[in-house]
Every structure is written in C-alpha cells, then in structure tokens.
C-alpha cells in the first residue's frame, strides 16, 4: 500500500479532529480506526485524485483520453460530494461561515478596485499602469493573502 493510502499515516494527519462519535474498528495493525477516520481518508484521497486527474486532462493530447478523463473526474466530484455530505450529516466535517465583518471587508476591497475599471492589457501595458493601482495590488495580493491565511495542507487537518 502506498504511503498516502496508509490508514495510519492519514489518520495521524487528522488526529486533532478525530472525535469519539464513530465506532472503533480494530485493524490488523492494532490501531482502532473509526468510520469517521476511514471516511476522512477517503475524502482526502478523492481530493488528491481530482488534482491528479485534472493534471492529466490538462496535459492530454489525445481527444478520446481527455474525454474519458473528464467523465471520470466528474464522477470523482460526485463521490467527493457524497462522502462530504455523509460526513457533514454526522457532524464529522464542520464548516465555518464567513462573518458579516469579513464579507464587508471583501466588499470594501472590491469597491476600491472594481474589475470593470481595470485597464485591459491590450490598451495599457502592465508597466505603464498608474502608480496607485500597482500599490493596491502590492499591498493586498489576492493569491498571497488567501494562501497565507489558510494553507491548503493545513486546511485538511483543520477541517477534519
């Protein structure tokens, strides 16, 4: 079994969130895994599989291969949703809604730099953009901010 599929390995990654709501199952390694643990592993694996399949689709030259992979990817999305819903219904996957303050902050950020008012690339090269636009981007880079606040690898652990 590859390391990423080792139940012990994946279960360790979610140790902080594993509760006592599931039924403990004894396994060959002597470590009890609950229904919740097993579904958490399955959910994580589906996330990994969708990323891997997306790469294959993006790199595919053969049209039939690409079509088949898109079909499989869509099935993976369906699986992921079913797994997530099963976990969510049982209280195994908690989500945190954005607060009104956070929504307001984002609305203000957007109103300061509405997309429609940005200069198209064709009309104005990046180097010639007004100074205030560059400063705004520099102060609040969208990607950097998102990744800094909640890195992908950590979100697996936190959301479990």
């Amino acid at each position: 079994m590859p390391q990423h599929m080792n139940p012990n390995y994946s279960a360790m990654a979610t140790t902080g969130a594993v509760g006592t709501t599931g039924t403990t199952i004894g396994n060959a390694g002597g470590i009890g895994l609950t229904d919740r643990d097993l579904f958490q592993i399955m959910l994580n694996e589906h996330k990994l599989m969708t990323m891997s399949m997306t790469t294959l689709i993006l790199e595919a030259v053969n049209p039939q291969l690409r079509q088949d992979c898109i079909k499989i990817l869509n099935k993976n999305f369906d699986h992921q949703r079913m797994i997530w819903e099963a976990m969510h219904q049982r209280g195994w996957y908690q989500v945190q809604m954005a607060t009104p303050q956070e929504m307001q902050r984002m609305q203000q950020q957007l109103s300061h730099q509405p997309y429609s008012q940005q200069q198209p690339y064709t009309q104005q090269p990046y180097t010639q953009q007004p100074t205030h636009t560059q400063q705004t981007f520099h102060q609040q880079p969208y990607m950097q901010q998102s990744y800094t606040q909640q890195p992908y690898s950590q979100s697996f652990t936190q959301r479990s």
């Binding site: 891997s52 291969l65 099935k75």
Partner: protein
Amino acid sequence: MNQLTNRELLLLEENLKLEASMATFAQSCVHLISDPQLRALCQRIAQDHHNDYQELSRHINMRNM
C-alpha cells in the same frame, strides 16, 4: 491509432495507481465500516473506481494490441 505522449503515459500510470488504490481501499471499508448507509456508499465507490480503472487501462491496452 494515435500514440500516447510521454507525459500522458506518466500521468495515466499515476492515475491508474490511484484508481486501483481507491478501489481496494473502498472495498476494504465495506468490511470495516459499521454504519450500513456508509457501507453501501463504500460499495458503490469501490465499484465505480474499479470501472474507472478498467476504462483508463484500455488506453494503454489498446495500443499494445
């Protein structure tokens, strides 16, 4: 018949391994999980991934004929 590129072959191999692993894991869960509803879901997932494996592997087998 078009041949596969190096990149396609590498990525196919990776995805075939993932499909096989998931089919095996989900099938194991059918026997490990206590909740009947979850067990049924595992059974379905195992079968789907088994089918996906077969479908993907055809792209390699077709070219060996």
